[in-house]
Every structure is written in structure tokens, then in C-alpha cells.
């Protein structure tokens, strides 16, 4: 043990403890993930995004809300405004940097709400079975039958515009696929011998679902969440663009495109830059999701 490197310890064929085996599996997963260049690019972009959001006040050259009407619609490469200024003379780069916080905020909230709701519905539906399963799956089907953006639009219309309501609306439309996945996983797990064993030990449904079924559903859900993130970002940006998400003067990227739309023919950069930001981030999530799928869920790949 003493002359063994950490790497050898992690790659051993004969793990000495449960934790050793787990760490070893994670490390091997990481190694195969790391060999996927595209996925690594995605990961780096997202890490950079988190860094940018965390250090926004230090990184941004200007205050994103301060207007400078004498210097409005300055083109790219203007001194001290690399990406130009918008119609109120606000620095576009600074607004993009601060906008990354909003994007991460939305993504994080949706990624917390939707899969948890889906996991709950799916596992209960799959484990309990019977009419509970029929009713829950019917509800899931109904939500799946709606075009997502249109449903989100209607929800926001009812709840009122705003970033929290946009998150809620997107989550409400995003949970059904997770419920489907969790149910399918539950159905295969439910028949396993070890579930019968803990049932014989007297474990209740609640304990079995939370302790023994949920942990096994998580990896396929993570893959699905990562792949869905791109769609969530696009939906949030779409709502922002329609004026139903974050409200001005918030530097939300979709809302920035909407502002820049009026000057698109003469001052193209105002709408172009936030669009590029959205594209980069959602591309990164797609790349990362593809890579994760190959590692965590090999049967789901091609």
C-alpha cells in the first residue's frame, strides 16, 4: 500500500472496501469521460461560466445598469466597450457577464425542481402500481401532450411575468419525461431479488423507494437533465425574449436580444452578442450531456 500511487489504488481490480470500489468506479468513469474531447470542452465552458458568474463584479469593466446616453449604440471594439453598448449606452460585455448569473440561476432552479417532481411521480407510480400508476401516468401523458413552450406561455400568462414564474412554468412542463424514465427504471428494479429481501426484512414502501430505488434512478436522470439543460436555457431565453421572463433592466440574455431586435439592421451587435452567449452555453450543455451519457448510461448511446 505504501509504495502504491493514488492512481494505482484507484485502478485496482481488487477493491478492499465498499468505498474503495465506489471511488474506483467513479475514477474509471472520469477517465473515460476525460478521453471525450468534446465533452471536456463542454465541461470547461460551463466551469468558465460558473467562474464568470461568481466573479462578475470583478470581471465586468462597467456597471451593467449604468446608462450613458451620450455613448449609445457604440459599435464593437469601441474603447473600453469591447462588445459595444446598447440603446441606453450600457456596456454589453458587462451585461453579458451579469446575465450569466441569471442563466445559472434559472438552470439550477429548474434542474432542482423538475427532476425531483419527476422522480417522485415516476417511482411512486412504478412501485405502487395499480390505479395509482394508471392515474399518475395519464397525468404525465397529458402534460407530455402539450407543446412545452405554449404551455409555459399559458402558465406565465396566468401567473404573471417574472423570472421565478418563468422557472415555475418551465419546470411544470419539464417534469413528465423524468417521471417516465424513473417509472421505467423502477419497474425493472422492483422485480429484483434484493427488493424482495428488504421487503421480507420489513422495510416499508417509503423506505424502499427513497433508500433503494431513488439512488439507482439518479444516474439516468442526471444524463437526461444535462441533455435537457440546453432546451431549458433556450426556453428561458425564449420567454425572456417574449417579455415574459426576466424584466428590464435585468441583463437576461433573451431579454437583451429582444431589446436589440429593434436595431437589428443598423446595429446588429446589440442582439447578436447575447445570442452567441446563449448558443455557447446550450452547446456546452449538449456536449457535456453526450459525454455523460456515454459514461453513465452506455446502453442509451448509439
Amino acid at each position: 500500500m505504501a509504495d502504491q500511487t493514488l492512481r494505482q489504488w484507484l485502478l485496482t481490480d481488487t477493491p478492499t472496501s465498499r468505498r474503495h470500489a465506489k471511488l474506483s468506479a467513479i475514477y474509471q468513469g472520469w477517465l473515460s469521460f476525460r478521453s471525450n474531447t468534446m465533452a471536456m470542452i463542454g465541461l470547461w465552458i460551463l466551469l468558465a461560466l460558473v467562474g464568470i458568474a461568481a466573479f462578475a463584479p470583478i470581471l465586468s469593466p462597467h456597471d451593467p445598469f449604468v446608462q450613458d446616453l451620450g455613448n449609445r449604440l457604440a459599435p464593437l471594439g469601441t474603447e473600453s466597450h469591447i462588445l459595444g453598448t446598447d440603446s441606453l449606452g450600457r456596456d454589453i460585455l458587462s451585461r453579458l457577464i451579469y446575465g450569466s448569473r441569471i442563466t445559472l440561476y434559472i438552470v439550477a432552479l429548474v434542474a432542482l425542481i423538475a427532476p425531483v417532481v419527476g422522480l417522485l411521480v415516476g417511482t411512486v407510480s412504478g412501485y405502487v402500481g395499480g390505479w395509482v400508476d394508471v392515474v399518475l401516468m395519464r397525468i404525465t401523458d397529458i402534460f407530455l401532450a402539450f407543446p412545452r413552450l405554449v404551455l409555459a406561455l399559458a402558465f406565465v400568462a396566468a401567473l404573471g411575468a417574472g423570472i421565478e414564474n418563468a422557472v415555475l412554468a418551465i419546470s411544470l412542463t419539464a417534469w413528465p419525461p423524468y417521471a417516465r424514465i424513473a417509472r421505467a427504471e423502477t419497474l425493472t428494479i422492483r422485480a429484483a431479488d434484493y427488493i424482495s429481501a428488504i421487503q421480507l426484512q420489513g422495510a416499508g414502501a417509503m423506505r424502499i423507494i427513497t433508500r433503494h430505488i431513488w439512488p439507482l434512478c439518479v444516474s439516468s436522470l442526471i444524463v437526461r437533465v444535462t441533455l435537457d439543460m440546453a432546451g431549458i436555457i433556450l426556453a428561458a431565453a425564449g420567454l425572456g425574449f417574449l417579455g415574459l421572463g426576466a424584466q428590464p433592466p435585468s441583463p437576461e440574455w433573451g431579454a437583451m436580444i429582444s431589446e436589440g431586435r429593434r436595431f437589428i439592421l443598423d446595429h446588429w451587435w446589440v442582439a447578436t452578442m447575447p445570442g452567441l452567449a446563449i448558443f455557447t452555453v446550450s452547446l456546452a450543455f449538449n456536449l457535456l450531456g453526450d459525454g455523460l451519457r456515454d459514461v453513465l448510461d452506455p446502453k442509451g448511446g448509439e
Binding site: I142, A145, P147, V150, F155, A158, L242, T272
Partner: protein, 352 residues
């Protein structure tokens, strides 16, 4: 249905009951799904912070006028009764009156829907024409540069905000190059020239043999339709590729190659023929997706379709129009899903 039964020789014991209960089950689930859809829009209409009575009578109405309208709307009844009224109205195609122009919502929707249909249809057409061959070639030459290109094309399609791509398209092809017509369905000089028969201006101008209008209308639709087409291309080409890969690894393909059949025939006459059913279901799904994608596209291109209609109504708090539009889009969405399911069942003997 008949074909499915003919194919299943082994199941000839009692074909009718299975077929019968199956159909009944499908119809039942369609009915429940549609009811659920109407229920959700009903709930959305309930929780909104706008008082539906005030919306009709106005803020300065007397208490008696208010009460009369309250009763007339049936708001004193239990929620379940209100819901059944709502379902009954929707079944008759009555979505109430628009707050904005005091016209029946159903009439407005009937007027704007063809525009969306026209856009989505042309979009999915572009998606099929380019996406299917791209997917097939990517599968046949797996790992080649063309496969990589197909992958990037799809990846970019999945990651690009559609409204932004629309703006960029307008900027480049309309603003800079002037290759296409700008926003709207036709240029301002050509508006209302051809009589509206189908509501789809391309079809109407052909029916009217007005080639000038046709040309102008085409120059307006080509950009938004290609844009939507790009999105369905991303999806269709990926699905085509994975279906084809599955077929090409099958043993009958090896047999065909061993027999000395040309590669063209192997790919198109054997493998491709077997993925047609799957492909049609994918196309139906991407068509449904385009109806949704057209919401944002329509706004960028000032396209007077159902997407613009819903968002305009939304911004002016015209709830009847929003809910009516949502129900209609939802219904079309469900119907397309059912259609693709049915096709699968009817044409694929394995999915009994």
C-alpha cells in the same frame, strides 16, 4: 387495421376482440388526454389574477351589472359545473369572445391557423428533403467527414435559439444581401390581392394563377420556413441515421451484399425500405414540434399565425384568446401524436 390482422396469421384465433378492445382503449386514452388538456387550460384560466367579470363589464360598472355578468358567466356554480360548461363550449368550438376585438376567438383562430400550417408544412418539407438523405449518408459512411458534418449540423440545431437565428437570417439575407422578402407574408403592395380560399397564400395564389403574388409570397416564406426546416432537419437526420445504422448491421444486409447487390440497392431498396414506418412517425413528431417552434419564429418574421396570435393576446391579457389558442395547438399536437402511433401500429406488423 385490416393489414395488421392479415399479417398476423398466428393471431387468427380471435382477431376481433383484440382489435376491438385495442381501438376502444386508444379512443378512451385520446378522450382522457383531450379532457386533461382542456382541464389544464381551464385551471390556468382560474388561477390568473385577472377578474373575468371586470374584464367584460369594465371597472366603472355598477354592482348590479357586475352581478348580472357574474351570473351570466356561471361563476356562482360549483367549479365542476363550470368546468363541464367549459368542456361543452370547447367541444362546440366556442372559446368565448376576445377581449381585444370582441370577436369570437374561434373565428380568429380559424383565420390565423392556415398561416402557421403553411409555414410548418413547408418547414417540415425542407427538413425531410435535406434531413433524410443526410441521415442515410451519415449512417452509410459512419465516421467519415460527412458523418461529422451531420453531427455538427444537428448539434448546432439543438443548441441555437431559434428566434436569434431568425434575427440573424433577417439581418444577412434580407438586410445585407436582399435575397429574400422581409417580415410578413407578402409585400405591402400585394396584400389582399388574391382571394383567400384556403388561407394559405401560396395555395391561394396558385389557385388564382397570380404568379407575381406567388413569387413574392415565396420570397417571404422561404427564410422562416428554411429556419424551421433546419430544426426539423437536425432531428430527422439524427433519427434517420440511428434507424439506418440498426438496419445496416442486420444479417439480411450482409446477405444482400454477399449476393453481389450494388451498394445503392442495398441501402435504398433494402435498408431504407425497412425504416420508412419509423421515419414517418418521426416526421409526424417533428411536424408537431414545428407548430411549437413557429411561435417564436412567427414573432421574428411578423408572421400572422397562431404563435403571433397567442403572444399578442397574452401581452394584452386577452385570456380567452390565449386559452383558445393553447387548446387548439394542444389538440393538433395530440392528433399528430396519435396519428404517428396509429401509423406505427397499422404498418408495422411487429408492433401488434
Amino acid at each position: 387495421m385490416v393489414q395488421a390482422n392479415d399479417n398476423g396469421g398466428a393471431r387468427s384465433r380471435a382477431p376481433l376482440p383484440g382489435w376491438f378492445t385495442g381501438t376502444l382503449k386508444t379512443l378512451g386514452s385520446i378522450a382522457v388526454t383531450m379532457l386533461g388538456l382542456v382541464f389544464i387550460t381551464f385551471i390556468i384560466g382560474r388561477v390568473m389574477p385577472i377578474d373575468p367579470v371586470l374584464a367584460i363589464v369594465g371597472e366603472r360598472a355598477s354592482q348590479s351589472t357586475y352581478d348580472a355578468a357574474y351570473l351570466q358567466l356561471g361563476l356562482d356554480k360549483p367549479v365542476i359545473v363550470q368546468f363541464s360548461y367549459y368542456v361543452w363550449d370547447v367541444m362546440q368550438g366556442d372559446f368565448g369572445m376576445s377581449r381585444l376585438n370582441a370577436r369570437p376567438v374561434a373565428e380568429d383562430i380559424a383565420r390565423v391557423f392556415p398561416a402557421t400550417l403553411e409555414l410548418a408544412t413547408l418547414g417540415v418539407f425542407f427538413g425531410i428533403v435535406l434531413g433524410v438523405p443526410l441521415g442515410v449518408v451519415a449512417a452509410v459512411r459512419k465516421g467519415s467527414w460527412i458523418d461529422q458534418v451531420a453531427r455538427v449540423v444537428a448539434l448546432v440545431g439543438y443548441s441555437m435559439p431559434i428566434f436569434w437565428l431568425g434575427l440573424m437570417g433577417l439581418l444577412v439575407f434580407y438586410g445585407m444581401l436582399g435575397w429574400v422578402g422581409g417580415p410578413g407574408r407578402v409585400g405591402i403592395f400585394y396584400e389582399d390581392i388574391v382571394p383567400s380560399v384556403t388561407g394559405m397564400i401560396l395555395v391561394d395564389s396558385i389557385l388564382d394563377r397570380n404568379w407575381t403574388v406567388l413569387k413574392d409570397a415565396f420570397s417571404h416564406i422561404v427564410l422562416p420556413a428554411s429556419l424551421l426546416g433546419y430544426y426539423s432537419l437536425a432531428y430527422i437526420s439524427r433519427m434517420t441515421r440511428s434507424f439506418m445504422l440498426e438496419q445496416l448491421s442486420a444479417e439480411y444486409i450482409t446477405t444482400a451484399r454477399v449476393k453481389g447487390m450494388s451498394e445503392w440497392d442495398v441501402v435504398w431498396k433494402h435498408a431504407f425500405r425497412n425504416i420508412r414506418v419509423q421515419l414517418i412517425t418521426v416526421i409526424a413528431l417533428s411536424y408537431a414540434g414545428l407548430l411549437e417552434g413557429s411561435v417564436l419564429t412567427e414573432i421574428i418574421f411578423s408572421w400572422p399565425g397562431i404563435g403571433s396570435y397567442i403572444t399578442t393576446a397574452l401581452l394584452s391579457a386577452d385570456m380567452n384568446s390565449v386559452l383558445g389558442g393553447t387548446v387548439v395547438v394542444g389538440l393538433v399536437f395530440i392528433l399528430l401524436n396519435i396519428f404517428s402511433d396509429l401509423l406505427y401500429k397499422v404498418f408495422d406488423p411487429r408492433a401488434k
